[in-house]
C-alpha cells in the first residue's frame, strides 16, 4: 500500500476548507437564525409573563374593587334600612298623634253637643217653669204672701243699693 502524504495533506486541506466553508456559510448563519429564534421565543415568553402579571394585578384590583363595592353596598343597605325604620317610626307617631287629635276633637264636639242639648233641655224646662209660675203666682199668692215678698225684696235691695 502506497501512503501518499501529499494526497492526505490535500484531503486534510480539502476537509479543512469544506469544514471552514460549512462553518462560515452554514453553521454560523444557522446558529444565528436559531439564536434569533430563541431570542424571539424568550421575548415572547417574557411578554406573556408580563401580560400574566398584568392580568393578575388587574384581577387583584377587580377583587379589591368588588370587596369595596360590596362593603359600600352593605353600608348603603344598612343606612336605607335605618332610614326606613326611622321613617316608619315617624309615620307611626304622626298617625298616633293625628288619631289622638281626632279623638280629642270628637270628644270636644261631643261635649259641646251634650252641653248644647243640656242647655236646650234646661231652657225648655225653665220656660215651662216660668210659664207655670206666672200663672200660679198670679192666682195663688195672697196679700200676706205679697207683703212677705216685698219685705224680702227690700232686704235684697238694701244690699244692692
Amino acid at each position: 500500500m502506497d501512503i501518499k502524504l501529499d494526497q492526505i495533506l490535500f484531503q486534510v486541506l480539502n476537509f479543512g476548507v469544506v469544514f471552514g466553508a460549512i462553518v462560515f456559510l452554514v453553521y454560523k448563519p444557522v446558529i444565528k437564525v436559531l439564536d434569533e429564534r430563541a431570542k424571539k421565543i424568550h421575548d415572547a415568553d417574557r411578554a406573556a409573563e408580563e401580560s400574566l402579571k398584568e392580568k393578575d394585578a388587574i384581577d387583584e384590583l377587580k377583587k379589591k374593587e368588588k370587596v369595596r363595592a360590596e362593603k359600600e353596598s352593605a353600608k348603603m343597605m344598612e343606612k336605607a334600612r335605618e332610614q326606613a325604620t326611622e321613617l316608619k317610626k315617624e309615620l307611626t307617631e304622626k298617625a298616633r298623634a293625628e288619631i289622638k287629635l281626632d279623638k280629642e276633637k270628637a270628644m270636644k264636639s261631643w261635649e259641646l253637643e251634650k252641653k248644647g242639648e243640656h242647655a236646650a233641655m234646661r231652657k225648655e224646662f225653665v220656660d215651662a217653669v216660668y210659664a207655670v209660675t206666672e200663672k200660679v203666682v198670679g192666682k195663688a199668692v195672697d196679700k200676706k204672701a205679697h207683703a212677705g215678698l216685698i219685705d224680702k225684696g227690700l232686704k235684697e235691695l238694701a244690699q244692692a243699693m
Binding site: K123, V126, D127, V129, Y130, T133, E134, V137, G138, V141, K143, A145, H146, A147, L149, I150, D151, K152, G153, L154, E156, L157, A158, A160, M161
Partner: protein, 71 residues
C-alpha cells in the same frame, strides 16, 4: 244722684206703712232723697222693683224668673 232723678217703686200690692218707712230710709241713705212714686204692676208677680233714673234694682219674682231663664 241728680236732683231731678225720679224714683219709681213697683209692687203688686200697696206698700204697708212700715215698708214705706224702710224704703224711705234706704233711699235717703243711698240716694239722699226720700221722695218716690209708687206703681202697682201685677206683671212683676211679687216682690219689689225700684227704678232710680235709668238704673233698675229688681227684687221682683219676675226678675228672679228671668235670671233663671237666662242663666
Amino acid at each position: 244722684m241728680a236732683k231731678n232723678t225720679s224714683v219709681v217703686v213697683e209692687t203688686v200690692v200697696p206698700l204697708s206703712t212700715q215698708q214705706a218707712q224702710t224704703l224711705k230710709a234706704m233711699l235717703k241713705k243711698s240716694f239722699g232723697t226720700e221722695s218716690y212714686t209708687t206703681e202697682l204692676n201685677p206683671e212683676i208677680l211679687g216682690g219689689v222693683r225700684v227704678r232710680v233714673g235709668s238704673t233698675v234694682y229688681d227684687a221682683s219674682l219676675r226678675g228672679k224668673l228671668e235670671q233663671l231663664r237666662t242663666s
